[in-house]
Symmetry: C2
Subunit: 91 residues, 2 copies
């Protein structure tokens, strides 16, 4: 059986995946070669800029995506180790 703290943490990670927009955003970032600029996420997601910012924060907080600001732009990249960790939890 699952420890209570583990369950809480895992649930938060899965919650980050429990939204179609976030899955779309993650798939864009994950399927990119390297990094993806925040400016390239608004239009494909079909949501407003604040909404995209909100969702990206959730993905970053869950550790699924890394965030780096360079100049005016913010660059995102997938964190494969974290995705692997979630996959392992489903065994």
């Amino acid at each position: 059986m699952l420890d209570e703290g583990d369950a809480q943490l895992l649930a938060q990670s899965f919650a980050a995946l429990a939204d179609p927009i976030r899955l779309t955003l993650l798939s864009i970032v994950a399927s990119a070669k390297g990094e993806v600029c925040a400016c390239d996420l608004v239009e494909p997601s079909g949501r407003s800029q604040p909404t995209v910012s909100h969702h990206m924060k959730i993905l970053v907080d869950a550790g699924l995506v890394s965030r780096e600001k360079r100049g005016l732009w913010v660059w995102y990249a997938a964190v494969p180790e974290r995705l692997d960790a979630l996959r392992n939890a489903l065994r």
Copy 2:
């Protein structure tokens, strides 16, 4: 990039995992040899019987757990193919 319908469906599946109680319930069912009686889920989860019933319905609706009523009792079992499908989505 992810198709809109796929994203919706996937999001619902992950949403089923986005709650610590459901993760606990699933871990009990998944780690059991065969089936698990609903009556054996209430006490370990620390929630009321209606609440456990509610959460199990969500897991069943997501296809992660199968449900079979025999006599007075309801028996649950994990659906490994569905868990595999989710793991594949995280690649």
